[in-house]
Amino acid sequence: MSALLEIRDLTKDFGGLRAVAHFQLELAPGELVGLIGPNGAGKTTVFNLITGMIPPTTGTIRIAGEDLVGYPPHRITHRGIARTFQNIRLFNDLTVLDNVRIAYHPYAGYGLAEGILRLPRFHHREREIAAEARELLGIFGLADREAELARNLPYGDQRRLEIVRALAARPKLLLLDEPAAGMNPGEIQKLMELIHFIRDRFSLTLLLIEHQMRFVMSICERLVVMDFGEIIAEGNCREIQANPKVIEAYLGKGVHTGGGGPAPAGSR
């Protein structure tokens, strides 16, 4: 019962395609775990299942003991799971600050009428929300860009802003889908430091999908490797690097498997 996240026998079929098969995962509070595997292995599908974006075919997902299957995504977010997206989904036509402020909505603390009538509680809470949002932006070095439209940010900043927005939803578990994609080595280094920092600061548990192996190997304490919807290996970085099944999944098996080419599409 000490696990924060507990996934049992999770399976997802898209028609005849089994995207995720009998997936099992337990995350203890404070863990930082990487979910890796070739393209199309089903990693993002697992994220979509955890966050309720798509319903599982079978299986249970529990957070702090509560079964989340069947909840709409916003309720799952209220239970303490937030995420970022592989193909960044910011509110492009809004300012950086508003992108973050929206995530405070469940904690707004004032009603519709209070907002429209501009009662004291509205002003009080809005001030707090803006201050908190600015603090988070400051941590990620985005404080001086708060008035810019999200679409005008450079790519790396957009990725960081998405993490800030997810943090504003006050998660216990943060799911990061390829946070380092498109970042240069310097940015990746900074990102690693940031991830460690926010984990301690907000006592987070993190699960991340990433293809940049140097990043994954240096940041994650435990790795889960998927291929064709199944978990093929689990363990610390050293074990995973030496695991023949993992090497096979990434590089192919030589002669008779014909290259072990990853299945196209389906990862999203």
Binding site: P72, H74, T77, F91, A103, G115
Partner: protein, 319 residues
Amino acid sequence: MKLRAGTIALLGAVALYAIVLVAGLTRLLNPYWLQIFQFAGIMTISGLGLNIIYGYTGQFSLGHAAFYGIGAYTAAFITKSAAAGGGMLLPALLAGAVAAGLVAFLIGLPILRLRSDYLGIATLGFGIIVKVLFDNSDAVLPTLGGSRGMTGIPKLTTWTWVFVGAIGAVMLVRNFVYSSHGRACISVREDEIAAEAIGVNTTQYKTLGFVMGCALAGLAGGLYAHLYTFLHPMNFDFLKSLDVLLIVVLGGLGSISGTIVAACAWTLLLEGLRVVLPPEILDWRLVIYPLLLIVVMLLRPKGLFGGNEFRFLKPEERE
């Protein structure tokens, strides 16, 4: 600085109100033109309603005139049934707004699941149903007049009512949009999936936006009914929905200022051309005006205001 923008706007509004009022009383502005001014205010209210739905919440509706009509018929029914007396106007207007909002809520539950064009078609269908209901309304309530139209509505709408209603609508929309609930609606427009992922109940806020917008249409409809004192189902058909859509797009989606300017410009221009143009080419009025639309869309594809606001409509950031 910002306080001043607000103060100037307030003074400007009061001045506008007083000028039109005095001009109307002294017959400097003939009753016909006074009516046009009032109609501009009514279109502003209705347009602001659609702007909440389409401009801020991102839900495409082609059935706005139906809710306008529901408000108009509801309010007119109440004042006509009640033994006259101007005191009934406010309750009737509110009832019209509530009726439109209630119907929006019931119809919104099933259809707001649809997106963009599909939602447009569904709201269009709903608009046609409502029009047919108005056409046959006399079968149930003879007072409503059916396809012959509803007559004998007391003329209770005054410039003051319209002005107060319009200012109220502007304040309502402005305060809503710059609150957490308004931001939730905007997040639905921007990216529904991301909105859910950060904890916004998108169904709830789509419904909220739709209900609020339709309630404003209902309010505008009530004012309209008591301005012209005659209602006909033709006044609430698909083309009337298009007029409002046009105003909102022309002014700029997600811009209160844009809707105000476009609603006034649209109403006054349509009538103004009548005066300005020589009689020989008066019929070309209906060609000139669509041409203007095309030109505006080419030059300013995001509408006149493109999502910007007059300064006094922006929230003051307080430290």
